[in-house]
């Protein structure tokens, strides 16, 4: 499916449109350029319905007071900021009808020294643009589907970012390299918002995480830290990894080594930034790395498309690329002093929000490992499930949990009934379109730890039936009958409303077969292919071993007051 993108600019931004259409990374785009130079008209008149828009303007074109500054005329701060505020308000209004709006921050469109040593005084261009950008960022931040992109990075990516001759010939102030970087950032943003951000870095160890081969040299002789060019580079790389892990990107190790010898480095080397506790999992052995990555995927219940594999050895990279094309395998520099910056340049981790669940991802995976271990110790699944002590906190959708809910809807593939992808405003619109729509979130915990908000169900009343619209459960919580609890909640809601039946229509994709398998074993009748029905005169059994800390009255689930919370 193509993502429609409207490129709106006061200059000739056709190159950005062309780059978006030519770029074959997912999601594929069908980009068009809005009428040239008619930014305010487009923002004011276009409905923008369901579209993604990318707005890239020159400050002097949309903020008249800033143009005065460039012409060295007297500048009035109050007017300048009023104009920025009005521009931001126009974007917010436009965004109300859009799926997603991306706005480029302002950078100087012409090369030049400005006022020289006075550039950072209040009349200087640099100072003024910085303040305008801050104000614009704050003003659009109130709209959940508007994001400011840092265009300074695009400019820095080019040896020749601007070319006056190009401007005079094409009316594009930036060269093709800058336009390409802009299109790449738009694609990265689309991936992030669409739940396609990568979640796990799988790392090689020898000569990737540290310098040297631990099995041959011993951990004491490895190059990490110290007064050593490459030693410092490996520390820098580890710091970059650690920063990502704090942002919710989990780290695993896959290495051809003896496990005990390799793990000793994490435990004993004083200069290591990453410690064993920073690893959510590892496969340290002499097996094929592609196979080890598949094992990790299974252990963590995480799809290959969520993984990035980093290895200094081009042969290993090639092997994983060939065997597991879903895994992102970036080209990796030979020079360790480039490792940190190469990692920081990867655009596969962009996300529109960072939730509590993201920040706790490594801990959750470690708990999952312990959970899996306990399963191998149990005599049967029936014995194991009650031993987990599963607790579920059921909450109606609200301001506190909507961001995580949207992230869950957009990221989940396997246990996802409709696989519909939505932005926050789009979901709120959907919820408020009809008074008898409702949505619940489920936060799951057990004796090993907190899995976070991992379940989401929404429904609507259709005549005398209750139709389940979203039925989403993170793979972290699958297979513990939390699914059955969700069905129980839906049936109870229908029963309290005296509805006739509960209907569930599965939109089958290549990746939600587990969802179909669940519904086929759920006890519902499959009245036609992938449509399941339950006679609501009958209760649906609730898993006895799951304690639900807080279940709202089922009647309240269809109460329009709840959805008003999100207006």
């Amino acid at each position: 499916m193509l993502t429609c993108v409207l490129v709106i600019s006061d200059f000739n931004a056709d190159l950005v449109t062309r780059y978006l259409n030519a770029n074959q990374s997912l999601p594929l785009c069908s980009a068009t350029t809005a009428a040239y130079g008619q930014v305010m008209q487009t923002l004011s008149e276009s409905s923008g319905k369901d579209a993604t828009a990318f707005i890239w303007t020159r400050a002097e074109s949309v903020i008249p007071e800033y143009l005065k500054l460039l012409e060295r005329k007297a500048l009035r701060d109050d007017r300048l900021f009023a104009e920025v505020s009005a521009f931001a308000a126009t974007i917010r209004r436009f965004a109300a009808n859009c799926e997603l709006v991306l706005v480029a921050s302002w950078v100087p469109s012409q090369a030049g020294r400005g006022l020289g040593i006075l550039e950072w005084t209040r009349q200087g261009q640099a100072s003024c643009l910085a303040r305008m950008n801050l104000m614009l960022a704050d003003a659009v931040a109130t709209a959940p589907n508007v994001f400011l992109l840092d265009s300074q990075r695009w400019v820095e990516s080019a040896q020749h970012p601007r070319d006056a001759k190009y401007w005079f010939a094409t009316k594009c102030p930036f060269t093709e390299v800058v336009c390409r970087a802009a299109a790449s950032d738009v694609k990265a943003a689309l991936r992030g918002v669409g739940g396609m951000a990568r979640k796990l870095i799988v790392l090689d160890l020898d000569n990737t995480l540290w310098g040297g081969i631990v099995g041959e040299e011993g951990w004491e002789a490895l190059r990490i830290g110290g007064h050593d060019l490459f030693g410092e580079a490996y520390v820098d790389f580890q710091r970059a990894l650690k920063a990502l892990s704090r942002h919710g990107i989990a780290i695993a190790a896959v290495s051809k080594n003896d496990e005990g010898v390799a793990l000793e480095v994490f435990d004993k080397h004083p200069a290591m930034i990453l410690r064993r506790s920073d690893l959510c999992a590892w496969r340290i052995n002499w097996r094929d790395k592609a196979q080890n990555i598949l094992d990790l995927s299974s252990e963590l219940n995480l799809g290959l498309e969520s993984m990035v594999f980093i290895d200094d050895d081009p042969a290993e990279r090639g092997r994983v690329r060939d065997a597991l094309p879903e895994v992102l395998v970036p080209e990796w520099p030979k020079d360790p002093s480039r490792f940190g910056e190469t990692l920081r340049e990867l655009d596969c981790f962009d996300r529109p929000t960072t939730t509590v669940e993201d920040l706790a991802r490594t801990r959750m995976y470690v708990e999952q490992r312990e959970r899996n271990h306990s399963l191998t110790q149990a005599s049967s699944l029936e014995d194991w499930l009650p031993s987990l002590g599963i607790r579920v906190d059921v909450e109606p959708i609200g301001k506190e949990n909507i961001k995580r809910s949207i992230q869950l809807i957009n990221k989940t593939n396997q246990m996802n009934l409709s696989t519909r992808r939505m932005t926050e405003p789009r979901f709120i619109d959907w919820l408020n379109e009809q008074p008898d729509r409702g949505a619940l979130t489920l936060s799951v915990a057990d004796r090993f730890g907190d899995l976070g908000l991992t379940g989401f169900i929404s429904w609507q009343r259709t005549g005398t039936d209750l139709e389940v619209v979203d039925f989403v459960l993170s793979c972290r919580a699958m297979g513990r009958q939390v699914e059955n609890l969700m069905v129980h909640l839906a049936v109870e809601a229908a029963r309290e409303e005296k509805l006739r039946s509960v209907i569930c229509r599965l939109l089958l994709t290549a990746r939600n077969l587990p969802c179909r398998d669940f519904w086929r074993s759920s006890g519902f009748s499959e009245c036609e292919p992938n449509t399941f029905i339950w006679d609501a005169s009958q209760p649906y059994p609730r898993p006895s071993f799951i304690s639900a800390n807080r279940i709202f009255s089922a009647r309240s689930l269809l109460d329009p007051v709840l959805s008003q919370k999100l207006r």
Binding site: L15, A22, Y166, A169, T170
Partner: protein, 109 residues
Amino acid sequence: METGNQPEPVDLIDSNAASEVVAQAIESVNSFRSADNAVSSHPEVLLVGEGGCLDSMEMVTLVLAVERRILEITGRAISLLDGEDFESQLAAFHTPSSLANLIVEKCRC
């Protein structure tokens, strides 16, 4: 004023290097075309004029990418697009080969 022998013109860039610069510039253009619509850097492929494969935006991007690359390599700013009637200059931009010849000529001093 002394009117002795004129110095021999010196080529700052030879035709092979000029062809390489043109090929790199064509790659720049190809980066915003779909893969199945990529422009060949074969010396005789028609770039502009009747049957040419580049539109005006692509042509300007190509030529200015060449100008910038020449500046990087030789330190010399050349102007392939000099504001004169483009139509009259068209022959020089017809093919990668003719463009490379123009580069060598402009880089002669």
